[in-house]
Amino acid sequence: MSAIIIFTAVSLAQLLIGAAMAIAAFRMFRGPRAQDRIIGLDTLYVSGMLLLVTFGIGTGRVVYFEAALVIGMLGFVSTVALAKFLMRGEVIE
């Protein structure tokens, strides 16, 4: 019984997060200006991180957690670098 509940919840959550990723990707490609694209990328990687954690719950493995941690760190650095680039025109001064 509890396995069925968890399986259904994990599948539904993956659908919802997948839809969120699709919307973020749409905004990233369509976004009227560069800052919209950067926030689209930011939303995309946060949703991807959540998707990996739900994969971890679904399969019962802990490997996915580490991948999610790496995605979080790299995403933070990339968003900061892109924002810095928008601000100054170069990343490392």
Partner: protein, 121 residues
Amino acid sequence: MMGSVVDIPLWAAIAVAFFLLLGAALTLIGAIGFLRLPSFYERIHAPTLGTSWGIGGIMLASMIYFTLSSQRLVIHEILIGIFVTITTPVTLMLLARAALHRDRAERDENVPSKVREERQE
């Protein structure tokens, strides 16, 4: 999909399902708001729904599930939660400042011009 199904009690399964769906639904609502809000400065607020309770709900679900299925306390998901909670405001502040800088450089009518107090700092 369900590789190793460990039998966890029913109340825990319901709690895991609830937090999982809460987090996923909030992430989707944030993304929809991000799609539909009209201006950039409104859009920047919407995805934070996903980075606050979206992350929080899914991390809670993961913590409950792994704690009960491996019979010991597993709370390393809290690392991601703390990390994202700290870094999201930093990135969004930087991004909003960059966008404001760009809009002011183009003399956009919709953003306020520079206030004097800001120059004197």
